[in-house]
């Protein structure tokens, strides 16, 4: 056994299209493109952890061979600074040589639904400009956030959340190879938590395995430890009327843990219906509603610290009124 270890999401990532455990329909259609050695622009859409990026890489490997990476430009819309950087990188890349036998290179644009409508328009022009030498693969969680003119230029592939059998089967496969002791029910629990997100399922398995035998208990323990305590603490402090302490927790999450306002909103929302949060039942819906409003404002570009502070102030008031 090697002393080096990788994250299992990297170690067990499928390398070829045939290794992909689900998305059979998608895979069959893509294999036809490989046979013809030609692809149109593609749009891969579906929830996180369903294999979109993995499939894109596998496709490129089958087209170009093991050194496919020199013919692939990977960009992530969330990490690049605006459409100008993307334009410059694509321009530079389009100038480089193509592989023998395949007259185009691939630009992989991940999380493209995080681009503004304007940036997507610019992207559309970019695709037209370099259409002779490049193909784009756009990856998105929400296809509805991709503007129509872009959608119409791409062959659309829908990725679906993985089934219980597929996730549990893969976890078993990994556990056997890694000599991990496990209970069958624990793998079911992991599936329930992952909601069909394979990346999450595998990360939970690895974290639970590092704690010892993988049991239902150790799975929940690993998940509980991974979730920042500060989120629930923040909610509880706010509801108890301790606004300033709640905001301290908020800033710890955003500044020390590096979470964005949107991440914090999503994690708060997860806590709202948790039985561990002791609040009157009818408040859960009120809170979810308000969190939704704040979430919307943040996606509109409003200052997240101010919006979340307003949410905490509202919770303080709700808590005070409930105590009366």
């Amino acid at each position: 056994m090697s002393v080096k270890e990788l994250l299992w999401v990297e170690k067990y990532r499928p390398r070829t299209l045939s290794e992909v455990v689900n998305q059979r329909e998608v895979v069959e259609r893509l294999k036809l493109f490989v046979k013809e050695k030609n692809i149109p622009h593609l749009l891969f859409a579906g929830p996180p952890g369903t294999g979109k990026t993995t499939v894109a890489h596998a496709l490129a490997r089958e087209l170009y061979g093991e050194n496919y990476i020199q013919h692939l430009l990977e960009l992530n819309a969330s990490d690049e600074r605006g459409i100008d950087t993307i334009r410059n990188k694509v321009k530079e890349f389009a100038r480089s040589r193509t592989a023998p036998g395949i007259p185009f290179k691939i630009v992989l644009l991940d999380e493209s639904d995080n681009m503004t409508a304007d940036a997507q328009q610019a992207l559309r022009r970019l695709m037209e400009l370099y259409t002779a030498s490049t193909r784009f693969i756009l990856i998105a969680n929400y296809p509805s956030k991709i503007i129509d003119p872009l959608q119409s230029r791409c062959a659309f592939f829908r990725f679906v959340a993985l089934s219980r059998e597929d996730v549990v089967g893969r976890l078993k496969y990994i556990a056997e190879l890694e000599n991990v002791e496990y209970e069958e029910e624990a793998l079911d629990a992991i599936y329930d938590i992952s909601e069909g997100d394979m990346r999450k399922a595998i990360n939970v398995l690895q974290a639970a395995a590092s704690l010892g035998k993988v049991t239902v208990n150790s799975v929940y323990r690993a998940v509980g430890l991974a979730r920042p305590r500060e989120v629930r603490e923040m909610l509880e402090l706010a509801l108890a009327g301790k606004f300033e302490e709640a905001r301290k927790a908020l800033r710890k999450l955003m500044i020390e843990y590096g979470l964005s306002g949107e991440d914090v909103v999503k994690q708060m929302h997860r806590e709202v219906f948790s039985s561990e949060l002791k609040i009157p039942e009818e408040h859960r819906v009120l809170i979810a509603d308000y969190i939704g409003e704040i979430h919307f404002r943040i996606t509109e570009g409003s200052d997240d610290d101010i919006q979340l502070s307003a949410l905490l102030a509202w919770l303080s008031l709700l808590g005070k009124r409930a105590r009366r």
Partner: protein
């Protein structure tokens, strides 16, 4: 002949004549003591910050007089471009003290140094702070300005507190006695109130009133209107939070010299200081959040006429949210800006780690931060040390990254990783590159 301005005439001559600021007195005293003993402190500059008129400059001058030091003073009216500073400060900073008489270099209002008009001034001053043989003291109202970062990083920061109304009244009374002036206590109270915490402005007003006759309430009401000119941040905040009428609150935000985005950050942090009742707190935040929303709409649409609603909401909206009392707690600097500065290196390490893993896991840094790092933390902090050590060999983590991941267990895991590597000699050459980070822990 016109009389000497009272703020000059009645300037404190001894340290204990300066009102309040006990903590600042102690810190400045200790810092100067080190210089006088011939062992300059690690930070050769002091940055005194706080609202205007609370005694920053006066206290330095009092120290200079009391300890019989020399003083070189440069204030905002002098040009502070690089060439000027080189000529004056550069020379003074390099001059060995004569007859052991230390020279204090006082740079007033460094937040007023204009990055354009006074080009290169801040950078030069920062370089002087590294090599000066004389103590350098700077003052600022707002030390958190981005342009002041080079000075902030090379100086010891000393906070000055806003004066209370009672403290200002006491000070005015003592001046009235020295001037043998009949002063009505209520009148002094009103002068103090209209100049919230700014002793200099209050003394100026007192003199202006005294020149017209007895200091009585009616006269003060007629003459002292509060200042119309642009408002610095401290005055903006007090005008805003104490405003009872909408127009007053609106004037506070529109006449503020702080730009509206930073002003929002200041208001954001000071609402909970001034409003303690959850009802008031909620109403104020509701207004501020809507101001911020309106601003994002103005930006998104390019319709800058929306700004008027931004001002309505962040000014009157916040001011009129109060039904209860305004708390006496002092205004404070935006905590978020301070925290961002303090945690900068840690956040950089986190970004680097996220970038490294994003590349290997074919995903974005954002996804790594929310979906991968939390599980890595579990493995490195609670999981078996062996699992963590093996991952450490699998990725080129720097020692800072390992420290971030494992916290107190970092050195244990680094040592274990090294031991594991020793037992199996495979792939040594390719691992060489990755070792550098770990070695730091083992030396």
């Amino acid at each position: 002949m016109k009389e000497l301005p009272w703020i000059v005439k009645h300037r404190p001559k001894r340290v204990d004549e300066v009102v309040d600021q006990e903590e600042a007195k102690r810190e400045i005293g200790l810092w100067l003591e080190a210089w006088l003993k011939g062992s300059p402190p690690r930070e050769k500059g002091l940055l005194l910050y706080g609202p205007p008129g609370v005694g920053k400059t006066s206290l330095v001058e009092a120290f200079v007089k009391e300890r019989d030091l020399e003083l070189l003073e440069l204030n905002a009216s002098d040009s502070r471009r690089r060439e000027e500073l080189e000529r004056i400060v550069g020379v003074a900073a390099a001059r060995r003290p004569l007859r052991k008489r230390l020279m204090v270099i006082l740079m007033d209002e460094v937040d007023g140094i204009d990055p354009r008009a006074d080009e290169g001034g801040i950078e030069f001053l920062a370089s002087v702070l590294e090599r000066t043989v004389n103590p350098i003291i700077m003052t600022a109202n707002d030390p958190w300005k981005e342009s002041l970062r080079p000075l902030r990083e090379r100086s010891k920061l000393v906070a000055f507190r806003e004066l209370t109304e009672a403290q200002v009244v006491t000070l005015l009374q003592s001046i009235c006695e020295k001037e043998r002036l009949k002063c009505d206590k209520e009148a002094l109270g009103l002068i103090a109130r209209r100049n919230r915490g700014d002793a200099r402005a209050a003394i100026n007003d007192l003199q202006a009133v005294a020149e017209r006759g007895e200091v009585r309430l009616e006269l003060v009401e007629k003459l002292v209107k509060g200042r119309e000119k642009s408002l610095d941040i401290w005055r903006t905040l007090s005008e805003l939070f104490y405003a009872e009428e909408g127009w007053r609150a609106k004037r506070a935000v529109t006449q503020s010299e702080e730009d509206y985005e930073s002003l929002m950050a200041w208001i954001n942090d000071n609402i909970p200081k001034k409003y303690k009742d959850p009802e008031d707190l909620y109403r104020a935040y509701d207004a501020l959040a809507r101001a911020s929303l309106m601003l994002s709409r103005a930006k998104a649409t390019g319709e800058w006429s929306f700004l008027r609603y931004v001002f309505d909401l962040m000014g009157p909206g916040v001011a009129l949210a109060k039904k209860g009392e305004v708390s006496k707690e002092r205004f404070s600097f935006p905590e978020r800006i301070r925290a961002m500065a303090e945690t900068k290196s840690m956040r950089e390490v986190r970004e680097e780690l996220a970038a490294l893993l994003a590349k290997r896991l074919l995903t974005s840094k954002a996804t790594v931060k929310t979906e991968v790092l939390p599980y890595l933390f579990v493995i490195f902090r609670q999981g078996s040390p062996e699992a963590a050590a093996k991952l450490t060999l699998g990725y080129p983590f720097s020692s800072e990254m390992l420290k971030l991941l494992a916290g107190a267990r970092a050195s244990e895991i680094a040592a274990l990783a090294e031991k594991l590597r020793g037992t199996k000699g495979e792939g040594r050459r390719e691992e060489k590159r990755e070792r550098r980070g770990l070695d730091k822990f083992l030396m």
